[in-house]
């Protein structure tokens, strides 16, 4: 059975919930689809279950998330949970066809406009042994905490850099978790670079104060924080048993049963890539972002993108950008005029201006260490196809110019994750090896289906 709506919003995090609520309130027939069972996205995951409201570290976040959920519930927008998108068709004769599945049956949604709010993912940074069981991301551990109140046990180390690392460490300790130590891989020079943006950052004082409070909480708990860690290796036969790291030119070995990695977050551009929308390389954030106008409109007709998927801005700014994209979507659908759009947008833009200035400071402070983006030859980069950095470099020496040729040379990026994990890392290696910029190297083309589908699922498709 196919579904029809004026605006389809994909992703139920802050941007998607705020966008859907804004559009529905204006009278746009709005459908919000999301792959999770409940509203919230990753940042507000499980917010409706109330299992996290006692967490002193993120109580304010939860209140903001709960408010967005309440607004959405009252807005009249429809919600379809547990729905994965596997194909987005370009607009044709004023409508876009979006193919989805609930895991057992495929379906098609016809929408006049689409607003992508597919958020961010953690930057995959290959290190030796990162495929060993026992190694996972900080985000993964936080999901286990948010959905089941599970906290890290003895033998857990955290390594990397980024605001989420400190947030999770503080949350986990508050909830009774155990962390043996934190390996901070941000280079010392990051701080000096960040200081150039300190005047602007002061306008986002709340972000800075919170960051310092989280770090203080971790230190108060007595967790060793080892700064300026230059390299990390996960060791073990069939599972992680030892963590090796280099600091001050010396290697150290420690026993470890769990290693949680985090190297910041990057936009999840899988959907915008599949549309062949224009993307640009964002130098400070070291990632590709879709090119959008001031309202989040992409170069693909009828498609907008809002939230972290349009460049990392954090949850609060994401919600605001969701509202702006919804206003312009409503205008283009003929539901409101330009004047109404601008009147409604003015206070939102005012709020947004408070959240944005701190970004340049944070981007510099938590910038990934350059040497981590150039893994040694033996390190697996493509987890699905088990392709090492060395094989990628060999292919470049044989004349392979970019990621798409790399598929033919090595199968890199051709496994089930469709280069979601290796795409950025492989492009960094190719750019470095060729001595050219990331813009020139580009990334893997994305083709549907965006998720593997069974023939049985497909058979349910109408037409």
């Amino acid at each position: 059975m196919s579904t029809v709506c004026d605006l389809l919003v994909i992703g139920a995090g802050p941007a998607g919930m705020a966008a859907a609520s804004t559009a529905a309130r204006l009278g746009v027939s709005t459908l919000l689809v999301d792959e999770q069972a409940a509203l919230g996205g990753q940042i507000y995951r499980n917010v409706e279950s109330h299992s996290n409201d006692a967490d002193g570290v993120s109580a304010a976040d939860w209140q903001r998330g709960a408010a967005l959920v309440r607004e959405f519930r009252a807005s009249g927008a429809r919600h379809r949970a547990g729905t994965q998108v596997w194909q987005l068709d370009p607009a044709q004769e004023g409508a876009c066809k979006i193919y989805v599945t609930d895991g057992t049956q495929a379906d098609v949604i016809r929408a006049r406009r689409v607003l992508l709010a597919t958020g961010a993912m953690e930057r995959p940074v290959p290190i030796p042994g990162w495929t060993l069981p026992g190694v996972m991301t900080v985000g993964a551990a936080q999901i286990l905490y948010k959905t089941g109140k599970h906290v890290p046990q003895a033998g857990t180390w955290i390594a990397g850099s980024g605001p989420l690392l400190w947030l999770f460490a503080a949350q986990a300790l508050e909830a009774g978790g155990k962390i043996e130590g934190i390996l901070d891989t941000a280079p010392r020079s990051n701080f000096a670079h960040a200081l150039r943006h300190s005047m602007a950052a002061l306008r986002g004082r709340a972000y800075l104060e919170r960051g310092l409070a989280l770090q203080a909480r971790v230190r108060r708990a007595g967790v060793p924080v080892i700064k300026d860690v230059a390299a990390i290796e996960a060791k073990g036969e069939d599972r992680l048993t030892t963590l090796r790291f280099r600091v001050g030119g010396r290697w150290r070995d420690v026993l470890a049963s769990t290693l949680l990695l985090h190297h910041g977050v990057v936009p999840n551009v899988h959907a915008t890539r599949s549309l062949r929308a224009q993307h640009r390389w964002d130098g400070p954030q070291r990632c590709f972002v879709p090119v959008v106008d001031a309202w989040g409109m992409t170069s693909a007709e009828a498609y907008a993108v809002a939230g972290d998927g349009a460049g990392i801005v954090g949850a609060e700014a994401s919600a605001l950008r969701g509202r702006l994209a919804a206003l312009e979507s409503a205008r283009r659908l003929g539901v409101i005029d330009e004047q109404r759009r601008d009147t409604e947008a003015a206070p939102i833009r005012g709020d947004l201006a408070r959240h944005m200035p701190v970004r340049a400071f944070l981007d510099q402070l938590f910038a990934p260490r350059a040497s981590l983006l150039a893994p040694a030859d033996e390190v697996l980069v493509c987890r699905c196809e088990s392709i090492t950095a060395g094989r990628i470099r060999d292919a470049v020496r044989l004349g392979c110019a970019g990621p798409n040729q790399m598929k033919a040379f090595t199968r890199c990026g051709m496994g089930p994750c469709q280069a979601r994990m290796c795409g950025l890392a492989a492009a960094e290696i190719i750019a470095h090896e060729r001595g050219v910029g990331m813009e020139e190297v580009g990334v893997f083309n994305v083709r549907p289906p965006l998720k593997p589908l069974s023939l049985q699922e497909l058979a349910a498709l109408p037409e």
Binding site: M121, T131, T137, A140, I143, R239, N268, S386, C417
Partner: protein, 90 residues
């Protein structure tokens, strides 16, 4: 707060998990040291991102191979099994 739980079977072993959790989380709580082996190298792998990106948690769920276990919510009686090598076609 009382937490609703369900019983699932991880490689045949009954495990009680929170009703809102994923099959991948259930496998981890059951102490499954790995959840699949790489079809390319036979190396042992386990859930990595828990949010549908990495596809490391592909498992056989209720007899259906290559499900992303982190994206499947547990249900009473669900059978969650390791996937060894490439999935069986069919």
């Amino acid at each position: 707060m009382t937490r609703e739980t369900v019983t699932v079977y991880v490689d045949g072993k009954p495990v009680s998990v929170g009703a809102g959790e994923s099959a991948a989380a259930a496998a981890l709580h059951a102490g499954l040291s790995y959840t699949r082996t790489s079809p390319v190298t036979d190396e042992k792998r386990a859930p990595y991102c828990m949010m549908g990106v990495c596809f490391e948690c592909l498992m056989v769920i209720d007899g259906v191979p290559s499900r992303q276990a982190c994206m499947v919510k547990v249900a009473a009686g669900m059978r969650i099994e390791r996937q060894i090598g490439a999935r069986e076609l069919g």
